[in-house]
Structures are given as structure tokens and as C-alpha cells.
Symmetry: C2
Subunit: 470 residues, 2 copies
């Protein structure tokens, strides 16, 4: 760790070529400035390998010198997993490994390198008449390696699963620079331990992903999309059960939104006019996706008895693709709009789907006790039990003073989550932001198993040290 | 390992109570006589804990004494994972941990202990109007712990996934007797490494599963089932692509069967009359499952253009539930019937779905070269790329001489499988039967990672030693 910086840069350049190493300074900014603006440590260097062999050479070099490496995709992570912690690290950007190696839409798979931008993967699938159904807000810059390393979720997990379920196999460089050749297109393979799923979601601490085989699905022939008024999360949950019974696997999105979020969108001009049917304390955005041979119109049909049962009193159904986009835009901008209303405190939590109403009621109450006047904006994937439990500062409060009290709000929300047997990080992972809370809340036996696995696969702590496990 | 047997039995009885230990002898037979009749070693004892605490006490005792333990469910495994290898082992039967702890069909999960028989889990789900969609031939005796430890598959993986995908969380006793409290009902949880999926499929070598949370699905409102004539695997594959495009997630089974298998069923009276439409060299059994709001009749509609395209010339559609069962009975008895035709050599392999025709053509050819007159009976899950590539002995051959040449047939089939990037154990695992072949064919980096994980989680090799990893 005491290698002088200039020699270090020269050594990387020798391994990867000139132009493949970025020293601290302006050019490094895009690799270390992360979306939450919480972490500000520079790396010793950014290395930009162009091939799997170069990644291996780099890891062998780092292992010999005991230089910690941080694998990085699109630098869109929300918990600081992809940026420096100690400042002794070299960031390994995978952005130059950006080929789609193969695609077979009929059979349903595509092999993409770690640096492929998620949106490019979408486009490649769509060009073959298929979909890769993982949609997240950062898809224009997030890359496949990071998407898998963090086991990203998104708005269609309900129907298609998380990144983990969407991946058939991975290729990765181990901590000693060897290549784990785990790419495959098999739907079944019981030859030993499930290394694929262990590496997925390990946030770059067990190996560096270099490529993955991803599942593709037939492109739906039609969508039906609605934003439905509901009195509260309990009515939303009852509606979810009905819609699931009616549509089964055709129900591909079920998202909760509070009126407060819609009001913010209007107030800050992020929506030109109110796209909801009418005023309501809460809304659900739901979507059905149809295959070619399916009978359509099921959404409207299924809503009728829900009206009669008093679960909703109004709804808007998208009559066009443009209107569908308008409805989705409300949901997609609900996180971003909070930054226009002063400071905000965020949580990405999951509970049993049946417990979402209790989570929201008790979490709002507990946060209000901690910070009177705090403005809750819980929204997100009710169909997965995954709520982005966000709070805007009280009107007129000092943002810095509000953020100084963030721990009390975290404690209040996490107390409810843990009492319900939930997760304090549903989608975003642990990174460096949540290592302390993980130690406090995770089953100690699980933590010990994780530490033993880390020690077994990365004994010299070369790979993203201090992330996930402090 | 040198503890005298009588004292060992007394010690187990002290821990678990009288009547919870079975010494070698007649009473042990049902725990060590396994379905393939290949392995015949007695254990030192069978221990029958009645609670999770008793499992923990037993493991702590075994760890202190360095006595190897074999976790066992219903003793239905096909690769000897659940029966002794050295004879020094104590079998830990989980059959007394047989409670269904909770069930919530609306939300879609059930928590069952490791000793619950799979069929009982089916019944519990069905009593609540739901399904647990994992159907395997041994479901009347297989138990949830074994089903998960071996990541069982079955006939509806196509639509619902393997055991791994059907499980939300597990509870397990670690090699030092602590409890990993990983039961949960969360659809999303990114708080650390994926221990659940690591334990699933590890065949009892990393921990002893004591309970699991399983996913439930709405019971289909209707099925449409057909057995369709096809000229060969290529036509079957083309038909698969068409059916998948037509039905998407509603296509819940797509199974290939050779005429040879049907002939055997008729010859040995396992089917009273031919249930196929007419003579054909191959058949596909396919099934669509419908939700309440779905338009039915899609199967017949989708078959029409397949007729016109020459992919099939005849088919039988089940007109009743009884006829559906009759069609399924052909498929379900295809493995068993082979034992009536003398000796048989079996393989459970998986390739890319698109490569199934090549696998079958080249595998049959290679086996015929190895043993002239050998009678191939490849059948199974074409929709997953998973073929049970079985062979009956030549007519009139000596069964023992035929089996003595089994390795040449294995080599011939595995050469094709590996050349196609396939798996030599799609569903059944490694156990003690395939440890040698695993060492020969598995990526050496993957093997080293597996060994490192085994060493990390079971440093004293208490848990099922010699299984999976020799």
C-alpha cells in the first residue's frame, strides 16, 4: 500500500497500455463522484482494462503488491460500494469490456460483458424482438457488471425477478487473478455449489465480474396500464391480491405512490398537469403485460369488482403509449423530485408483502415522533414488499440540522422493519454506507458465514475491502 | 471416529431421547437402502432429532467428537448423497421435523420444516387454494430438506423454476451447531452474500437444513394438455419455440418422449392401451396452464399452424382430467419402465435448449459405437434443455456384462455434453456417485472455490464428507 503513486501509474500503464490509467485529478472525477454525494475520497488510480486477460493481469499485480481494487461499472450505486473508502484503492473500471458476445432471442439468452450499459442490453434484446426485463432509473449509465454485483431490482421484479434470477451464468476474475469460467446458458446444472448466485450481489468483494449470460423473454404484445386511487396502503394491498388473482404472471408492475409525491411533481414543474384521475391520498400504478394469444381488457374487467368492493373510487387507464409513459413518469421521478423540496432521508426496505400497510403506518408515526413535521414519501414496489421509505424535511427547516438528525429517523424506521422481520436494504446493497447497520441487524451466524467466505475467497483482502463487511 | 458403537448409541440417546437412535441392523435398512441399489454401506447409527435444538445438540456433539454426519430427508436421492460412504457416519434423519409452521396463500408463501414430505406440502398448499409447483417422481417420500439440498427440478421448471427459485429463505444448523436464522418471506433482500442459494444444492455438505420458506402460486383455473407426434428432436425444438411464443409463461410443461419408451410401457402392461394419437418416432407432452381471466383454447389454436408447417402430423388433446392423467402417466413411468427391459445406463444431462437435437443425435450415435445394439431412451424436459439420456441393454445381452461397460457409455455421452458446454448433472446432483466425474469435467477454478468454501464453513469435515467434493 506504500507504492509511490507515480510508479504505480507506470506499472498499470505497463500492464494495460498508455491511456488505460487515470491519476487523481479532474479526469478521475467521474469515477469517484457518486450519485448520493456522500463519499469524496480519491483513488490512487483508475485502471481501464480492455480485455478479460488485462483484468487478470491487473489482479495478479494487485495481489502481489497487496493493492486493494474496487471493481466499478457505471458508478451509479447508491451505497458507495463502487467508490474509494481508504483512498489506497485502485478503481478497476470495466467500461471498456463492453461487447455483447452473443444473443439468441428464440432460446432466450444473451451474453454481455460487464461494461455493457444496461440500456444497450435492452436495445440489443429489442432488436431481436425480445426483452431483458430489468428496468431501473439509472439504466442509461448503469453497467451489467454493477447491476449484477449489486443484484439490482427495479419495477418488474414482481414478474421477472431480480438481477440474480435474470442471470444464467457469470464469468469472473478471482482474487488471485484466475478466471472462473461460469458462463453458461443452462437452465439446470446441479454440479456443485451455486457460485453464480454467491458472486451476484457480493458487490465486488469476492471476484470481479467480467461477463454474464442473461435471460431474455418474449416482448409483450400489449400493455394495459392504470393509476388507481386508493384510500391507503391497506386498500392497495387488498387491490394487489385481487389483481394477482386475476392476472397471475401477467401482472408485471404494482407500484404505490402517495399524493404528496404527485404534489411535489406538480409544484416543481416535473409534470405539466396532474395525470391522476382525481385527488386521492394514495395511488397505485399497475400494469398487465399480454402475450400474442392472450385475451386483453382484463385490467378494466378486474377493476370493476374492486370499485364495487370500495377499494378504489377512481382510476385512469392509459389510452395510448404516450399516456402510458406519462403515468410511468410520475413513478419514475418520485425519488428525484425530493431533492427539489430540501433535504431528504431515504430508506430502501422490504417486508413481507402482507406487512406493508403496518410498515408504512408505524414507520410514518415513528418518524414523526423523531422529527415533528417530517414529510413522509413512502413509495415503490408494493408487489415485492419493497418500499422506498423516504422523508422530506419539515417545511422551513434547516437542511443541515435536519440531516444531522438522520440517525434518529433511520433508527425509527429500521426498528419497525426489523420487528416485522424485514430487510434494511432491499435493492441497493450495503456498500460502505450500511456496513455498520448490517453488523447491528444481521443474524450473527450469517455474518460469520459471510466473513468465512470472504476470507476463503479473498484471503489478502484485495477485492473491495471494507465494503459489505467492515 | 473410534468411539465404540454402543457408547455412541448411548450418547445419542442421551441427547435425543430413547427411541431416537437406530443401530445397524434391520431397522436401519430403510435409511441406507437407496433407490439405485448401488450403495450398501451401513452407518454407525441413525439419529432422529425431533426439534431444531436437538439437531444443534447433535451437531455440537459430533463436532466435538469429529463424527461425520449425513443429513437425510426421504432417502430418495439418485446419486448416493444421503447414504454412507465410509461407514463411520451417523445419519441425521430429519423426518421428525415435519411441521408446516405457517402458510399464507394470498401473499404466496409457506414455511415448512425439513422433514415435511413433498406431497404433504402440495396438499397443504392446495387446501389453501394455492400450489407449490415442484413435482417429481418421488414426491410421495421425498422431503423438503432433501428437495432443497439437491435443488430438485421436475416437470414444471420451465414455468416455475427449480427448488432454488421456489425458496425464499432457509433455516440451517452450521457445522459448529449454531443456527443460521435465514427464514424469511422477503422478495428482495440485498444485505450481504446469498447464503440461501449457497446452502440450497450443497447436498448437506455446508449445513443441515431444518426449515424453509417456500413460494406458493395461484392454482391454475384450467389446463390444456396434449401429446403431439413429431418426427424427431429438431421438430420438437421448433414446436417448442412456437408454443413458447404463443403461450409465454402459460406454457408449463414441454416433455420429449421416444416411441421406444411408449412401446415398453405397452409391452410391460404399464399402460393398458396406447394413449398416443398414432405411431410416431417421437412425441412431445405439452401443457398450458390458465388463470381465471385467461382465454382458453390457445393450445389447439397454436397447434394448427404447426400442423401446416409440417412440424407434426397428429396429436391427442386431453378431453378430461382422467385423460390428462393418462397422458402424464406415460411420461411419469418412462424411467421406471426401463427396469423391466433388463439393465439400463442413465444420464441426467443439460445443454442449451437449442442444442438438444444435436445432443440426442450425437449421443445416440456415440453410444451405439460404444455398445452396438444398445437401445436409447432419451426423454424429459426439452423445454429446459434437460434430457434423461437413458439406455436399455441390447436385446438378449447379459445385464452384468452390459453394466460392466457402463463407463464407455458415460464417456461417450459426456463427451458430447461437454463439447456442447453442457452439464453432466442437471437435476440429481453429485452425491458420491459423480465426485470423480466432477473433478474431471468441472472448471478447476470453480472446484477450488468450492473447496475453499467447504473448508471455510466446515473446517473439521463433519458434514457429509466425501460427497460433492471427494
Amino acid at each position: 500500500m506504500t507504492t509511490p503513486t507515480t510508479s504505480l501509474h507506470a506499472e498499470i500503464a505497463t500492464l494495460l497500455g498508455e491511456g488505460a490509467v487515470v491519476p487523481p485529478g479532474a479526469a478521475m472525477a467521474r469515477f469517484i463522484d457518486e450519485p448520493r454525494r456522500r463519499f469524496h475520497t480519491a483513488a490512487q488510480a483508475v485502471a481501464l482494462p480492455s480485455s478479460v486477460e488485462q483484468v487478470q493481469a491487473l489482479v495478479r499485480w494487485a495481489a502481489a503488491k497487496r493493492i486493494p481494487l474496487i471493481p466499478q461499472g457505471g458508478n451509479t450505486g447508491l451505497v458507495g460500494g463502487q467508490v474509494p473508502l481508504s483512498g489506497q484503492e485502485v478503481i478497476v473500471s470495466l467500461e471498456r469490456l463492453n461487447r455483447i458476445r452473443s444473443i439468441d432471442a428464440a432460446t432466450g439468452h444473451m451474453t454481455a460483458e460487464a461494461g455493457v450499459i444496461l440500456e444497450k442490453a435492452h436495445e440489443a434484446a429489442e432488436a431481436e424482438g425480445a426483452i431483458f426485463p430489468l428496468w431501473i432509473a439509472s439504466q442509461g449509465s448503469a453497467r451489467i457488471g454493477g447491476v449484477l454485483a449489486s443484484n439490482a431490482g427495479g419495477v418488474q421484479v414482481l414478474a421477472y425477478g431480480n438481477a440474480r434470477e435474470l442471470c444464467l451464468g457469470v464469468e469472473a476474475v478471482t482474487a488471485d487473478g484466475r478466471l472462473y469460467a461460469g458462463l453458461n446458458t443452462l437452465r439446470k446444472d446441479n454440479t456443485g455449489y451455486d457460485l453464480k448466485d454467491l458472486l451476484i450481489g457480493s458487490e465486488g468483494t469476492l471476484a470481479i465480474l467480467t461477463a454474464a449470460t442473461l435471460k431474455l423473454f418474449p416482448r409483450p404484445a400489449a400493455y394495459e396500464t392504470a393509476v388507481v386511487n386508493v384510500a391507503g396502503p391497506e386498500q392497495a394491498l387488498a387491490l394487489f391480491y385481487r389483481m394477482k388473482a386475476a392476472a397471475g404472471a401477467r401482472l408485471t408492475a404494482f407500484e404505490l405512490m402517495p399524493r404528496f409525491g404527485i404534489d411535489m411533481l406538480l409544484r416543481h414543474g416535473m409534470m405539466s398537469s396532474d395525470a391522476t384521475a382525481s385527488m386521492s391520498p394514495w395511488y397505485v400504478l399497475l400494469e398487465f403485460s399480454y402475450g400474442e394469444a392472450d385475451r386483453q381488457g382484463v385490467l378494466a374487467e378486474a377493476l370493476e369488482p374492486a370499485f364495487e368492493a370500495g377499494l378504489t373510487d377512481d382510476a385512469v387507464l392509459a389510452g395510448s403509449l404516450a399516456q402510458r409513459q406519462q403515468l410511468w413518469a410520475m413513478r419514475e421521478q418520485m425519488s428525484e423530485v425530493q431533492s427539489r423540496e430540501g433535504a431528504s432521508i431515504k430508506h430502501d426496505v422490504c417486508v413481507d408483502i402482507a406487512d406493508v400497510p403496518q410498515l408504512i403506518a408505524e414507520g410514518m408515526e415513528a418518524a414523526e415522533r423523531a422529527v415533528p413535521g417530517i414529510r413522509p414519501c413512502p413509495f415503490g414496489h408494493l408487489g415485492d414488499g419493497n418500499i422506498h421509505f423516504n422523508f422530506s424535511q419539515p417545511i422551513g427547516a434547516d437542511p443541515k440540522a435536519f440531516m444531522a438528525g438522520a440517525d434518529a429517523v433511520h433508527d425509527a424506521v429500521y426498528e419497525v422493519v426489523l420487528r416485522l422481520g424485514g430487510s434494511v436494504s432491499a435493492e441497493h446493497g450495503i456498500g460502505q454506507l450500511k456496513t455498520k447497520v448490517l453488523e447491528e441487524v444481521k443474524d450473527p451466524v450469517a455474518l460469520d458465514m459471510m466473513r468465512a467466505i470472504k476470507q476463503a475467497l479473498d484471503p489478502h483482502r484485495i477485492l473491495n475491502p471494507g465494503k459489505v463487511l467492515a
